[in-house]
Structures are given as structure tokens and as C-alpha cells.
Symmetry: C2
Subunit: 238 residues, 2 copies
DNA sequence: CGTACGTTTGACTCTGTTCAATTGCCGTGG
DNA sequence: CCACGGCAATTGAACAGAGTCAAACGTACG
């Protein structure tokens, strides 16, 4: 048994590589054990499939274990707005707590896997694990802060600034997960980027081309390479 | 703070008219009593004064008891983005939980009064009052949903639609508080509206004038009267 | 009661959209 | 393996909506 690779059945969180990004942040090993017992159901979501849809009854949050998601809301007239892109360790479904119904659609942009977190149980155990409650509140609050940043982006930035801000945001999140901050593959289309940024896909494409012209980045379809991070940042004075 | 006036009344929440809008929603009288003992510090904020500023250390949430606030964030280059307008019964400061620092400035747009809610104490008692915890989570989640709606507005609506959506939103909130839904006074300037909606003040003014042309509303400076709610709603197909 | 600020309106400019044509890429099936 | 079809991305040209600049007016606040 000693040199056997153990397959995590019991406490999935304890052995998960995303421990430092996800819900267990700040918990001791005993507490992680308790949380792990609650989060014991995984679910695979193929590229293009829905994790959940608007209007369905809310039971669980989902933590992205592997893959990439987008969430979006719909107007009556069919217009849609991408509200976020979600990568490993991030929680999906926080919007649904309020009315106990999902308020957006969540779609996998590549073959993905999520951990299901039954929300009422999470609330229960967070009563006895204060640090879990605290961390959960911070996650929700962080979501609000993130949304305010998007409001700033949509409300007062020009096309190029929006795209750069978006790239820098992705870059930072990849880096935090151990991937390159200057070399990555976009999982979403130009249209999805544009929708998120309040721009048309052609405008996104033109902005990419311009940054490439200036040799700040190279764009090969979905593959992005950032050559000059400083100049990129200077353009949005970060 | 020097311009703070604190008053101590036993269980302020129990006797507060905002009981059904604010934190105490869904609590029994005993629980309201406990909450009221925690929320015993009121603070007056004169028009134009700051309730809190970006970067200062977070201790408390604030519930608006009387008056009207705006919150906004600042870019390095001085650009600002209004992130919300807040009326009676609404909580200010949810953004600050995440980094334990306020991420925005909050300014009173008229002489106002807030109830201070020490956050760590709120977390403590919410451990023993599950319905308080549940309601607090719903408030935070509702904030996220609201922000997503603003993202939709900023990302895919035209100037007139944005303004109408804004008016309908205010109208509904006034109505919920027992005020007229068709006749109200704006507390903010055209510039503040524009900033919130991602428009210039001139564009806001023109959109108001156009709606008045069409006899859908009348605008007398800050005083708005909605003559034809149906036509107003039809323009954004709600 | 006067002044400073907020608002309205007009004329012009510019950024991003729309429409359209073309190219590039990738998976499927012959 | 290559050819095909369909989707995604790029690029150009014309257009429209909102921004900018400027002037005049109204009001409410001290």
C-alpha cells in the first residue's frame, strides 16, 4: 500500500491540487477533511454542454476542477451578455443563492470537470468551521469587486484598453495556476470575448491585429504570446 | 471620525421601519433583538461627505437608514466609475469583505444616516442564527445578480435603453419603499447618471429630452414624472 | 440676491458598428 | 492521405451613435 497511488474517494479536497485556490483556502487538515466529505460528487461536462441553465432550481455551487467555462445571461429579445469566464478553482453559481434559481447559463468551453458543492450543506458546516464561513464570504465579496472592475472596463475604457485589460487578467490567472503568463491559448471565440467586453467581434479582431502590428503580442488564432508585457501594461497604465 | 454622531438605543432594528428591506428580513422577534443589540451605532453623513474611502481598513458594513449614497471606484489615471446608488435598507461595504479594505468611495448625495454593522460580530451571530446567515448570503448573491444586470446594460444597450432601464430600476425601488413609482426626484446629477451608465452627461440630457418630446415622461431638472409607464417599458421590452 | 454649478442644445468629430468579401483552420469522411 | 465543408477570423469601406467642444440658459445654495 505504501507506494500505491491512492485514488481520492473519501476526502477529495485534501488531495486536490487546487487546494490553495478553491474553497479550502485557510482551512486546517481536519477541516478540509470535513469539507471533502461534503464535496464528494464530481461531474464531467463536455465542451459545448451546459453545466446549468437559467431558471432551474439551485441546489449546488460548482468548483471548476478542470477545464474552462463561460456564464452568460439573456435578455427577452435574445441579446446575451457574457458575465464571466471561469477557470480551475473558481466557483460557479454564486448568483443563484439569492433567488434559489440559477440566473445565468454556464457552458463548458472545453471538456471540463466540476466538483458539486451542495449549498445548504456548505452553509451548515460553515456554522461550525468559522474559517470556512469567512473564506466563503471573501469569495462572494471578491466576486462583487471583480464585477465592479468589469463595470469600470465597460463604462469608461476604449476598445483597445478593454482587450488589454482582459489579456492581463487572463495572464495573471494563468500565472497563479502555474502556467505561463505570456503564452497561452484562448478558450473562447472573438465573439465571446467581444460580448464580454461590450464590443463586436470585428473590433476585437482589429485590436488584436493592432497590438500585433506594434510587436507587443503575437496572435495565432487562439494562441497568444505576449512579447512586451511592460508596453502592454503601460497602455492601460497599470 | 469627527463628524460622527452616535446614538445608543436598545434594539434599534426591532423598531425600525426598514425591517422588511434590510438585514432583519426573515428573522423572528427574538433574533431581531439580538441583531439590534449588535447594530446599535448610528452615524449621520451630511450631503457631500464620505461614508468611507477607498483603501481604509474595513470593520463594518453600513445599512442606509435615511438618505441616498453613491459608491464609485477610481483608476490610477483619475477616471472614475460609479458602481452603485444606494437607498434606504440597502447595505454598503460588501465589496470590502474580500480584502478587508474598502475598494470604493461612498458619498452621501443628500443628508443621510446609516446603521453601522460590525462585520466580525455579524459573522459571529450568524453562526447561531441560521436564518440571518441565509439572508446575508442572499443579499450578497443579489448584489452579484444586480452587477450582472449592469454588465448587460453597459455591454449591449444603447444610450436610451440604458437610461430607461435606470429609470425603471429607480421607480421599482422607490415603489418598494412606499413612494410613488411614477413621480420622484433624482438625487444625482446628469454626470453621475452618465458615469454609472457609461455615457456622457450630454447624452443623458439628450435622452431625457427625447423621452419628454415623446410625452412619455416629463423632466423638470431633477424631478421626473413618468406619464406612460407601458410605453416606457415597451422601449426596452420588459 | 448673486454667483457658481448643473443642464440643455447645437455643430462637428471620431470610435466602433455594420455589411460584405476573403482567408484560414480543423474535423470528417471518402 | 487529401478533399471538402463549415465555422472562425481578418480586413476593408461606408455609416451611425455617442463623444467633444462650445455657448447659453436655469436654479438653487450660500
Amino acid at each position: 500500500m505504501s507506494n500505491t497511488i491512492s485514488i481520492n474517494i473519501k476526502s477529495s479536497c485534501a488531495s486536490c491540487g487546487l487546494r490553495d485556490l478553491c474553497l479550502p483556502v485557510g482551512l486546517n487538515s481536519n477541516e478540509i477533511e470535513i469539507l471533502g466529505n461534503l464535496v464528494n460528487h464530481k461531474r464531467a461536462v463536455k465542451r459545448g454542454k451546459y453545466l446549468h441553465r437559467t431558471g432551474t432550481s439551485f441546489q449546488s455551487l460548482y468548483a471548476v476542477r478542470r477545464g474552462f467555462f463561460k456564464t452568460f445571461i439573456l435578455e427577452k429579445d435574445g441579446r446575451q451578455q457574457v458575465t464571466g469566464f471561469h477557470m480551475t478553482g473558481e466557483l460557479i453559481g454564486l448568483d443563484a443563492i439569492s433567488a434559489e434559481i440559477y440566473t445565468c447559463d454556464a457552458v463548458a468551453l472545453e471538456d471540463s470537470e466540476v466538483c458539486e458543492v451542495p449549498f445548504s450543506k456548505l452553509e451548515e458546516i460553515s456554522r461550525v468551521i468559522p474559517s470556512l464561513m469567512k473564506h466563503f464570504h471573501k469569495i462572494m465579496s471578491g466576486e462583487i469587486v471583480k464585477d465592479h472592475e468589469v463595470m469600470m472596463l465597460l463604462g469608461s475604457m476604449k476598445a483597445e484598453e478593454r482587450l488589454i485589460t482582459f489579456l492581463l487578467n487572463l495572464s495573471g490567472r494563468f500565472s497563479k495556476r502555474g502556467y505561463s503568463s505570456v503564452d497561452f491559448v484562448l478558450r473562447m471565440t472573438r465573439e465571446e470575448i467581444g460580448n464580454y467586453l461590450g464590443l463586436k467581434l470585428e473590433t476585437v479582431s482589429r485590436a488584436f491585429s493592432k497590438l500585433q502590428e506594434e510587436s507587443i503580442i503575437s496572435v495565432n488564432n487562439k494562441h497568444i504570446h505576449i512579447h512586451d508585457m511592460d508596453r502592454l501594461k503601460n497602455k492601460v497604465d497599470v
